[in-house]
Amino acid sequence: MDLAFSSEDNDFRDEVRTWMNENAPRDRRPRELVAMREFDLAWQRRQYDAGWAGIGWPEQFGGRELPLTQQLIWYEEYARTSLPPIDARFVGLAHAGPTLMVRATAEHQAFHLPKILRGEVVWCQGFSEPEAGSDLASLKTRAVVDGDHLVVTGQKIWTSFGPVADYQELLVRTDFDVPKHKGITWVICDMKSPGIEARPIKTIEGGQEFAEVFYDEVRIPMSNVVGGVNNGWSVAMSTLSFERGTAFTVSQVQLSTSVERLIEMAKSRTSINGRPVIDDEALAKKLARARADVAALRSLTYLNISRNARTDQPGPEGSMLKLQDADLTKRVYKLALEVLGTRSLANPEEEDDSYWVDRHLLSYSSSIGGGTSEIQRNIIAERVLGLPR
């Protein structure tokens, strides 16, 4: 066992840090959706031009294929430099892209993957429906084969970046008469196709990236089906382990940076009784506990990455990281409001403290998006401990 990085890895860290410091976007990331899209894609292009796009992608598809420890280093430095969140780039880089790598034809790969790496397109994920959330396989958006086209009619919801996306990984039902997992098809949907309407849904912190997407007889070429008709469930699950333990590294480094900043704030700010905020013993103890819990979460990341570096088949441990990351994210940003005290009442758009209010509001999503914490607990209990369903 050792924690020391090799000298090669340390050189790599220096190189990455230097590049990030010199290339971090200077402008603030816009809140308006179209401007945000352009900002995110410009940032992706900048990474591409410098050879930093797709650090975990195989070389075969234009990625850097860095070893896991160097991916860890990349994400640690990325978070420390406060670089833009992966948000609009997430589905392309970490979900649809990797799915295409393992399941799509060479033509689709050659067409789509370079665009994702170069920051030319935004992908979104059309999985959830009004009646199909945690029980995703019960989805009902209908697709009928008509010659060499699929004709899609139905509705998706919670489609992040739907209003500004170019492509969508879309799950549709192609067979209603078989068990629910067996009648689903995974298809590439061009978001500019006639019959698609994406209506924005305003989020808890005032964000604009959510949408509900309506499909009215949208014609999608059969050649856009990936993995074969009615094989969509296995296609959708094929990238679950792509990240191999690195998925929450950025979030964790942010958590630890946040806890340190909150401790500084608690020392330098005065509470309503005229004494330093940190003099509130109950609050001080919560801050100290947050330090310890964040340290443990980071250690678990290191442990998982160490284990995954030795296997191609990561286990269900990823669910543990996701669950703890969500719990701790909510706890730490709630704590931020305690440190702010009455200042947290200010309208998030007006005050400098808005950062913390925003983080707090955003933290509610951490235990919902990407599979709720309740579902993670089911997975851990059933797949790690072998409890009955």
Partner: protein, 342 residues
């Protein structure tokens, strides 16, 4: 960077687990409950023969020369097995003797002489010269034996015979022995400052390791019960009110393990944030084990409330281990005062 176990560590895990299962099963706690001593002499000598008490001591000081990360795996098994006897304080005591230059005493402890530990009270003081003063409690100390007293900056060994008013008192944990005593400037037989060897830091990590073993043990106990206990014609584990606490136990066990090995390796590598990680390890492992053990009592139902079932033994040991080296309250204060981790 690699936190997977080495073949040597895997060997420590399997051999210590087998030894404890055969020689010091949990049933020994109840068997020895009415005896003045909780130590099984034969098993203790056996552990000494296996080198357990000097496993992490440098070879130059008469030890086996393994690291703290290796000792963590031994102590995780000791915790899991709720083994009785002052393992933790004897291992630390051997270090104090060795680093203080008392090779004969270190060798004696390595060979099976036991060292208990002082639980300081609010007015207990270890002076600049290492002398011990004030009312205190003794955990697993024998009247003619040695007691280890630890502070963040130093650790000392004192003779229990040099204390006054030593009297046995019942302890919340039937697996340990508690005594009350008074010290009036008791002079140490050995003393080590933290800059020579950070005894308290190692103590935090090894206490954490034992708590991790407890967390893993109650996780497994709960999961088995959740699968095998039927009510309403179904295993109780189909209910999320049972299933989800079990999942949380699994997460806490992993987190606690990860942080204790991280802290151990940070100590072995002499990182400047080793104290930060060691305290974090102890704090998290203690809190996690405490919550998991309490949930286990609930999952066991009425059986969990009995003396006969093991669930309460895990709760109680977790509580005792959480009180070591200052307990949560003082550890939180220390952690907050440290500079941030790397």
């Amino acid at each position: 960077m690699d936190l997977t176990t080495s073949p040597e560590q895997d060997e420590i895990i399997s051999s210590s687990a087998a030894f404890l299962r055969d020689r010091l099963p949990i049933t020994r706690i109840r068997a020895l409950f009415d005896e003045p001593s909780n130590v099984d002499d034969a098993a203790w000598s056996g552990a000494a023969e296996l080198g357990w008490f000097v496993l992490g001591l440098p070879e130059a000081l008469g030890g086996v020369g393994f690291g703290l990360a290796d000792e963590v795996h031994l102590f995780r098994e000791i915790g899991r097995g709720l083994a009785t006897g002052p393992f933790l304080s004897s291992v630390l005591g051997a270090r104090v003797a060795a680093f203080a230059g008392d090779a004969a005493l270190a060798e004696a402890i390595g060979g099976g002489q036991r060292v208990g530990i002082v639980i300081p009270g609010s007015s207990t003081l270890i002076g600049a010269d290492g002398s011990l003063t004030g009312p205190l409690q003794l955990l697993d100390c024998e009247p003619d034996g040695l007691a280890l007293a630890v502070a963040p900056d130093q650790a000392v060994l004192v003779r229990v015979a040099d204390l006054t008013g030593v009297a046995a008192v019942p302890c919340i944990d039937p697996g340990v022995r508690l005594r009350r005593a008074e010290a009036a400037g008791a002079v140490p037989v050995a003393r080590v400052t933290a800059d020579v060897d950070p005894i308290q830091r190692r103590g935090h990590v090894l206490a954490a390791a034992m708590l991790v073993g407890i967390n893993e043990a109650v996780r497994d106990l709960s999961a088995e019960h959740a699968k095998n206990r039927f009510q309403f014609d179904k295993p109780i584990g189909v209910n999320q009110a049972i299933k989800h606490p079990c999942a949380d136990m699994a997460v806490r066990a992993q987190l606690g393990y990860a942080q204790s090995i991280f802290a151990a390796v940070a100590t072995d590598e002499g990182r400047d944030d080793a104290d930060y990680h060691a305290i974090s390890a102890h704090l998290t492992a203690a809190e996690y084990a405490d919550i998991s053990a309490a949930a286990t009592v609930q999952i066991m139902g009425g059986m969990g409330f009995t003396f006969e079932h093991d669930a309460h033994l895990y709760c109680k040991r977790a509580f005792v281990l959480g009180q070591l080296f200052g307990g949560a309250s003082s550890q939180l204060g220390r952690l907050l005062d440290l500079p941030s981790a790397r």
